[in-house]
């Protein structure tokens, strides 16, 4: 009882410190809202506008048909019709066209003769992911044409994408934001909490009051965790209802994962805070930590693509498992059993960083 009432007093004090300050109050909501919208609209790899040029030396019905199909997608826009091969380079180099489609003079003849009739696609590889998408799109249109022509090709590839039928990159990215965007803030909030009191000179005062380090730890951690969950909720609501990305999993399971993940992040933040002597140091350390956490999280690039040693390093990264857990619960509808592995590293990080922070409160490295 006494433990709880002392703890509540401390939590109240911490929340007051966060909420009473108008600037930090704005920081609680505005960035989460803005970043979620920005990422949703801005950070997309989807092919929405692909300018292209055509060099049709065959001038046949087949080539006209293929170009028409391409334009019919609404994604590809013809910006130029070329007369000879020397014009190709200019289109690509200037960046005007993402790709140039070339039909050689014998295209129609080869096609009629049943031989292989290549369509050349020259792509602007400087923008590799968009070019890759465009190339795949063109291939699928050509394949569709082939199929309609009475199956000269005996095999057709039918692609069916699971979890994200239209391959919208937003679908993949945005659930990950529920974990990653809120981490930025919780880490910072936790990192500043002890450092702020060190700087104000109130931390020693806190230590001589009858509060135990465990109480101080929980009192410092809970408000940051609450703020983190609040931010996750804002982002979750935007993703679910503004962008309308359907959720396949259980909300309670996602929140169970988020609580675990945020606790681990706060543990990290409090450890930083306990080492730092000033708020400035705490900020600096947070920035040093946050970049590798983001890069090694699988947010933007799959962890499987990283060198093995880095893959091992990601086991200490709560963000990796936070993102994995949220993504899988949100998109795949994964069950607790299926994501249980994600909880292990998260709990391990929390189990190390939180006691470490409590220890560092007392034994600041001098």
């Amino acid at each position: 009882m006494l433990f709880l009432s002392q703890l509540l007093a401390l939590i109240r004090k911490e929340l007051l410190a966060i909420l009473k300050d108008p600037s930090s109050r704005t920081l609680l909501f505005a960035p989460a809202l803005m970043q979620a919208l920005l990422f949703g609209y801005g950070a997309t790899y989807d092919l929405t506008h692909a300018p292209f040029a055509v060099l049709d030396q065959s001038r046949s019905a087949a080539s006209t048909e293929i170009v028409a199909r391409l334009e019919g997608t609404g994604v590809f826009h013809r910006i130029a019709t070329l007369e000879n091969t020397s014009q190709i380079a200019g289109q690509i180099e200037s960046g005007d066209a993402l790709l140039v489609l070339q039909f050689q003079p014998d295209f129609a003849a080869k096609l009629a003769g049943g031989a292989e009739a290549p369509v050349q696609v020259i792509l602007d590889g400087r923008n590799s992911s968009t070019a890759g998408l465009a190339s795949a799109y063109v291939s699928s249109i050509v394949a569709g044409y082939n199929a309609d022509q009475g199956a000269t090709t005996p095999l057709t590839i039918v692609r069916r994408a699971w979890f994200n039928p239209n391959f919208e990159s937003r679908w993949n990215l945005m659930p990950a934001l529920i974990a990653s965007l809120s981490m930025l803030q919780t880490l910072m909030l936790a990192a500043l909490s002890v450092a702020r009191e060190r700087e104000q000179g109130t931390f020693d005062q806190l230590l001589v009051t009858p509060l135990t380090p465990t109480q101080i730890l929980i009192g410092k951690a809970l408000p940051s965790i609450l703020v983190g969950l609040l931010q996750s909720t804002i982002i979750f609501l935007i993703i679910r209802y503004w962008f309308g990305i359907p959720m396949n999993g259980q909300v309670w399971l996602m929140y169970l994962g988020l609580v675990t993940f945020t606790t681990a992040a706060v543990g990290l933040g409090l450890s930083i805070s306990a080492i730092a002597l000033t708020m400035q140091q705490a900020m600096l350390y947070t920035f040093i930590v946050i970049m590798p956490l983001m890069l090694l999280s699988g947010l933007l690039t799959p962890v499987q693509n990283m060198p093995e040693i880095l893959q091992w390093a990601t086991y200490a990264n709560p963000l990796r498992f936070g993102i994995d857990l949220v993504r899988r619960v949100y998109l795949e509808g994964a069950t607790l059993r299926e994501v249980s592995f994600d909880f292990i590293p998260l709990l391990a990080v929390a189990a190390v960083t939180l006691p470490l922070a409590a220890w560092l409160f007392r034994h600041r490295l001098s």
């Binding site: 009432s5 002392q6 004090k13 001589v208 009858p210």
Partner: protein, 366 residues
């Protein structure tokens, strides 16, 4: 209400001993001021009492209970002591009452509120309980900090340079406040300061520290009349030490010494040999009879002309501070009569004079 005892306590930071083999006892209910130049270890000693630092060696006991010893450490929150910091250390987002009541959660609400009001009345801020720290003046903030540590009814109250941020007028009234509160509560108080006027005005015992050691712990009067070391003699009350020869220890607790071409009797208990004659401004007066000297500098201070006088017989020694009734010129010859003073033995190695901090040099001659 609790005795403080140190047995051979040391605390080092790196290779620098901040507190060096200190053994001392402060009786319960006393008011001790720890006085010394910056970096002498006085604040570290205070933090050792509070439990904010751990001793590297030695044993600390509070009220007969060992709180720090090899293999034993009582955490600060269990030491039942109050601490007031130079920076006030108030939580900015909490009201005055919130700050004071923060450590009192173990008490029922009614009693807690009564304690807060009691403490506020004691420091003369009975009507300020719902103010925020930023609405208070520096002096009021320090009173709130004092009230906060009093509200917990500590056995020991520690004050770490509590007046350093206040102006001279406020300091005087706060000093009176500390004395009154000491009398009212009867708790053992330790007050750290580098200002000897503060120390002597407030405390019934003053511990003079230098380089991590307590040079002398005595009443303010004894520090003046019977300094234990040349450092204390120089540091306290704008003192000076002159190298003299002790000719004989006399029966009436005085020594016969030779200074220049004169032989005089001065209080002290030193056997034949080299000695230090310790002098304060109050021991010196201009006279027609006396030791010959030359004025090396004059300044007007506190309504007097204060001259630095070099004795003709000891031109290499400290200049003596002499109050003059009227203006004088540099280079003027005069004679000084000695009344009082104190003799200390002078060891083989000549003591390097300890540079007194600027505020000591400017200090009012007692």
């Amino acid at each position: 209400m609790a005795e403080i005892s140190f047995k051979r306590v040391s605390r080092r930071f790196g290779n620098t001993p901040a507190v060096d083999n200190v053994s001392t006892t402060l009786e319960s209910g006393r008011f001790l001021a720890l006085l010394g130049p910056s970096g002498c270890g006085k604040t570290t000693l205070l933090r050792l009492i509070a439990g904010l630092e751990r001793p590297d060696e030695g044993e600390i006991a509070l009220g007969g209970q060992v709180v720090a010893a090899p293999g034993r450490f009582v955490e600060p929150e269990q030491r039942a002591l109050g601490m007031v910091f130079q920076s006030y250390a108030l939580w900015p987002h909490m009201s005055v009452a919130g700050n004071i009541g923060f450590g009192l959660n173990r008490l029922p609400r009614v009693e807690r509120e009564a304690r807060v009001l009691d403490a506020l009345r004691m420091v003369g801020l009975g009507d300020m309980f719902d103010r925020k720290p930023h609405e208070l003046s520096g002096g009021q903030r320090q009173r709130v900090a004092l009230a906060r540590s009093l509200a917990a009814r500590p056995r020991i109250l520690l004050l770490d340079e509590p007046l350093a941020n206040l102006d001279a007028h406020l300091r005087q009234s706060m000093l009176a406040e500390f004395r009154r509160i000491h009398a009212a509560t009867g708790c053992t108080m330790v007050f750290v300061t580098h200002d000897q006027n503060e120390a002597m005005a407030v405390a019934d015992q003053v511990g003079v520290m230098d380089r991590g050691r307590i040079e002398q712990m005595a009443t303010p009067m004894d520090l003046f009349d019977r300094p234990a070391t040349p450092m204390v003699a120089r540091f306290v009350g704008n003192g000076r030490t002159l190298p003299v020869t002790v000719q004989e220890r006399l029966a009436d607790r005085t020594c016969r010494i030779r200074i220049g071409d004169r032989t005089i009797a001065v209080p002290g208990q030193v056997a034949h040999g080299p000695g230090w004659l310790c002098l304060h401004p109050r021991d010196l007066s201009p006279s027609t009879e006396g030791i010959a000297g030359t004025i090396s500098a004059v300044r007007f201070e506190d309504g007097y002309y204060l001259a630095d006088v070099l004795l003709d017989a000891l031109p290499e020694a400290d200049a003596l501070p002499l109050r003059l009734p009227g203006p004088a010129r540099q280079g003027e010859k005069l004679r000084i009569a000695l009344r009082g003073g104190w003799v200390l033995p002078r060891d083989g190695v000549p003591e390097t004079p300890i540079a007194a901090p600027a505020e000591v040099r400017r200090g009012v001659p007692a």
